[in-house]
């Protein structure tokens, strides 16, 4: 059984108890995805699995045979940051940095969800195409906690990138 992570193929672990998060952090030593709660309550472990964001602490590695996973390390590096990463730096969209990889992975998929027309609680009419508003972004990012309280700056960063892409 194999899994592709950031374009590289890896053998899945034999121990069925290993979560996708622990597999990546402890076995592969890629520690960009964070463990904040291990119960799907904080979003710090967010990864993209086949393009969709998930809490990687809530899923077992062995359930992902053949899947393609992107972690923060696959989004960009310090020398080659993705636009969202650059915007987080510019807008100070973090403080301690622990929730940050999850925020950025989550935002990456979240913008695609809006573009794909998925409604949210903030969408006035769920049958309408959702608009790119602060409130939509805030609602859709509410699964990613930031205890430092960088929310306002995080939304600024996401809006700048989203509006730049929309323009």
């Amino acid at each position: 059984m194999t899994i592709e992570i950031n374009g590289e193929s890896h053998e899945l672990p034999r121990d069925p108890r290993v979560t996708l998060l622990d597999f990546v952090r402890e076995h592969l030593k890629m520690t960009g995805a964070k463990k904040g709660c291990d119960h799907g309550q904080c979003g710090a472990c967010t990864m993209l699995v086949n393009g969709q964001r998930i809490n990687s602490c809530l899923t077992l590695a062995v359930m992902h045979d053949g899947d393609s996973v992107t972690t923060i390390e696959g989004i960009g590096s310090p020398a080659a940051m993705a636009p969202l990463q650059e915007a987080f730096v510019k807008h100070d969209g973090y403080q301690c940095g622990y929730c940050t990889p999850g925020q950025i992975c989550s935002a990456t998929a979240m913008l695609q969800e809006i573009a794909a027309g998925w409604p949210s609680d903030a969408t006035a009419d769920p049958t309408d195409t959702p608009k790119l508003t602060r409130e939509e972004v805030q609602e859709r990012m509410s699964g990613n906690l930031c205890r430092c309280g960088a929310y306002a700056n995080i939304v600024d960063a996401i809006m700048e990138v989203a509006e730049g892409e929309a323009a």
Binding site: D15, R17, V18, D22, R25, E26, T31, G32, A33, K34, K35, G36, C37, D38, H39, Q41, C42, A44, T71, I72, E73, I75, G76, S77, P78, A79, M81, Q85, F88, V89, K90, D92, Y94, Q95, C96, G97, Y98, C99, T100, P101, I104, A122, R134, E135, V137, Q138, E139, M141, S142, G143, L145, C146, R147, C148, G149, A150, Y151, A152, N153, I154
Partner: protein, 735 residues
């Protein structure tokens, strides 16, 4: 070593006279790119060969003794290496600045959830499995004999601070407020759970841990293990949030160190979220009685602030609820006191802005009632009560921008203070209202050292064990050195979070920046003196800018002056007489607009403006972020955050992030932050004060006052959940 003891205000404003022009600028954090890319290493993320995993076993009893640990119930399990239950295990985290081991001896249980043993295994999964299966016998004390309710025990009475006759002042007052408020306990809930990797090499211990105050923590750890500090090294280069929870050495650090010794290989202990909630530190709940006596114009003649808080027996820490009440407002007849109930909930300690975070909430809510009685703008009431003289001590205030914060904040917010009648604005189901509060937080500095090295090529290295817990230390220390030495901060490398570096007080009490920043400043002054002498001139005539040093007509690059060698100086800052000779604090003002749902009692914060006087701003971007963070915390404290304990056995019921409600993205509106221009020469040689805590001190009061203005319901219990407001909303609707 260049030393300075702060015995008098530093009026020189040297940083303003420098030419690089980087101090205070909103520069991006140098650690930003590695944080957003996920490669900044936090405590549990160091790849240390052959590390085993440790998972805590905790006590499911509130008080009693561990009778027997049946190691054989798990030692045969696949992957299990050992069950470690050592009498030196610490049972609580140390209090901030303790500098000695906290309570030890896990055989004696004092609270539900206390760590009693560590299971060590080859994998995390095996350790977790075995920890859940470990059979332990307890001698549990009878629940009927254990006090859990702070209101049901006779508290330790505080003599208090008394002046004049408050009761008489209340009786004689034209206007008076006498209200009792309750606040629930809070958790720090830093995003990174406490974690340690301990390894021994040649009798020396290194622990990568998540700690705020390494200089104190190394002493605490050494004391717990009976080691010399020279045989211990702590590393905390990146800390995933602290907020007080990582002030003192935590249980994982000591347990990992002992286990690593016992099993003869490195051991990693990453506490679970539940263990952090249950076993680290809580902010005590509080009951606060506020008495305000005033004359016809609203000038205070009496001021009473009495609190009941709680902690475990034997703990010195008591939530310092009245801290800013000592100096914020006048009133010659005074009574301030803090009683402590000894109960067996988990240990109480520092959570962001201990004292003011809840004390200012109640005080500012009471001030709003006083303004209503007097019939004046609550901003004006506060302006009238800014005392000329310290209410109890014959000392002056240092720079104090409270009035400026109130006025500038009001203007930015668009404050309408004349007609404060509640229930005037309605949008659909929602009542809309506004509120104001003052902000105040005591200023502290502590002894700090830092080393600065000028290097060939014209770069610099700053080294101190100070931590960056998200506060922006990497940024501001680079900017201070850059300004003083005439370097682009990009050319200043900052090394933090390692006890091998010169020591400082760490992150806590908002003193990190003014203390360690001053040590960096002093080291740079010493380097400037050396550079000036190399140029055969006086330091006062030296200009350093863009890597070049100039005295008179002589101009040389730093690279030329160094001649291929490094130049290194250490700065040593110590608090001095100014601490006692001035009342120093940072001040602010908060303005909130809220919507309260008439049917559900749900409150949404729609706008929040904060204006702050924090002395010199060292980096406008990171200072603003600190303020945003505090204001976000205030939204949680005002509306959602509460630790709930089972009254039967004292266990914390809501011990995770699904049940303990920190604010989420959608709870936080666009917030406005104003940083009022200020230099406070009595605060530090860099004229800077603290910022991280101030920004939540009073803000929840502004939200409470906005709730009243919106819907006409005064809340006396925090957080203001729908349950707190609903009864009042029903009464208002009937009236």
């Amino acid at each position: 070593m260049k030393s300075l003891t702060m015995d008098k205000p530093d009026e020189r404003n040297r940083l303003d006279a420098m030419k690089q022009g980087v101090i205070g600028k909103p520069l991006d954090r140098p650690d930003g790119p590695i944080k957003v890319s996920g490669v900044a290493p936090y405590a549990a993320e160091y790849d240390i060969a052959n590390a085993a995993y440790g998972v805590f076993v905790t006590a499911p009893i509130a008080r009693g003794k561990v009778a027997k640990i049946h190691e054989d119930s798990v030692t045969g399990m696949d992957g299990v290496i050992a069950v470690v239950a050592d009498e030196r295990f610490t049972t609580r985290a140390a209090q901030g600045t303790a500098g000695e081991a906290p309570e030890q001896g896990p055989g004696e249980v004092d609270y539900w959830g206390q760590p009693i043993a560590l299971v060590v295994a080859e994998s995390y999964e095996a350790a977790r499995d075995a920890a859940q299966r470990l059979k332990v016998d307890f001698h549990a004390d009878d629940l009927a004999d254990i006090p859990f309710d702070p209101d049901a025990v006779e508290p330790e009475k505080d003599e208090g601070q008394r002046q004049g006759d408050l009761a008489h002042a209340m009786a004689e007052a034209v206007h008076s407020v006498d209200r009792t408020y309750t606040t629930h306990g809070h958790a720090s809930a830093a995003m990174e759970p406490h974690a340690s990797i301990a390894e021994w090499q040649d009798g020396k211990l290194t622990v990568h841990a998540s700690l705020q105050m390494l200089n104190f923590n190394i002493a605490e750890l050494a004391d717990a293990l009976d080691l010399e500090e020279d045989d211990v090294r702590l590393v905390s280069r990146f800390v995933g949030g602290g907020f007080g929870s990582k002030l003192g050495v935590s249980q994982d650090v000591v347990a990992a160190a002992i286990a690593a010794k016992q099993v003869g290989r490195p051991v990693k202990v990453a506490m679970t979220r539940q263990h952090v909630f249950q076993a680290i530190m809580r902010r005590s709940e509080s009951t606060q009685r506020l008495r305000l006596a005033a004359d016809a114009e609203g000038r205070l003649t009496g001021f009473g602030h009495e609190a009941l808080v709680s902690n475990l027996p034997g703990e010195d820490f008591a939530e310092p609820v009245t801290q800013s009440s000592k100096f914020l407002y006048g009133g010659e007849n005074r009574l301030l006191r803090i009683d402590v109930a000894r109960i067996h909930r988990m240990c109480a300690g520092s959570v962001r802005a201990p004292g003011e975070a809840v004390g200012m909430t109640a005080l500012e809510a009471a001030m709003d009632e006083l303004a209503e009685q007097v019939g004046i703008d609550p901003v004006e009431l506060r302006l009238r009560n800014i005392p000329d003289k310290h209410p109890t001590k014959d000392i002056p205030y240092s720079s104090r921008k409270l009035a400026e914060c109130l006025k500038e904040g009001a203007a930015a917010f668009g404050w309408q203070g004349e007609d404060r009648k509640p229930r005037q604005r309605r949008e659909g189901e929602w009542w809309i209202g506004t509120g104001v509060a003052s902000g105040s937080r005591v200023h502290n500095v502590e002894e700090a050292k830092a080393r600065v090295t000028l290097r060939p090529g014209g770069t610099a290295l700053v080294e101190t064990d100070m931590t960056d817990i998200g506060t922006g230390t990497y940024a501001i220390l680079g900017q201070i050195a850059g300004e003083m030495l005439g370097l682009d901060p990009k050319d200043v490398e900052v090394g933090l979070g390692d006890t091998d570096f010169p020591r400082g007080p760490g992150s806590g009490g908002s003193w990190g920046a003014p203390s360690s920043g001053s040590a960096v400043f002093l080291a740079c002054e010493a380097l400037r003196e050396e550079i000036a002498s190399l140029l055969k001139g006086e330091e006062g005539n030296l200009t350093m800018k863009d890597g070049t040093a100039v005295v008179g007509n002589t101009s040389r690059t730093i690279d030329e002056l160094l001649g291929g060698k490094e130049l290194q100086r250490t700065g040593h800052f110590q608090p001095g007489k100014t601490e006692k000779e001035f009342a120093a604090a940072s001040y602010g003002a908060f303005f909130a607009e809220v919507a309260v749902n008439d049917w559900t009692g749900e409150t949404r914060v729609r706008r929040l403006t904060g204006a702050f006087g924090i002395g010199r701003v060292l980096n406008e971007k990171t200072a603003r972020s600190q303020c945003l963070g505090g204001m976000t915390w205030a939204i949680g404290a005002a509306l959602t955050e509460q630790l709930l304990f089972d009254p039967r056995d004292g266990h914390l019921v809501n011990c995770d992030l699904a049940e303990y409600h920190v604010p989420v993205h959608r709870d936080v509106p666009e917030c406005e932050v104003l940083l009022v221009e200020e230099r406070d020469p009595a605060a530090s040689p860099i004229q800077a004060k603290g910022v991280g805590e101030l920004s939540m001190c009073g803000a929840a009061g502004a939200i409470a006052n906005a709730v009243y203005n919106a819907c006409g319901v005064r809340a006396y219990s925090f957080p203001m959940t729908p349950a707190v407001l609903l009864e009042g909303l029903v009464e208002q609707a009937k009236a």
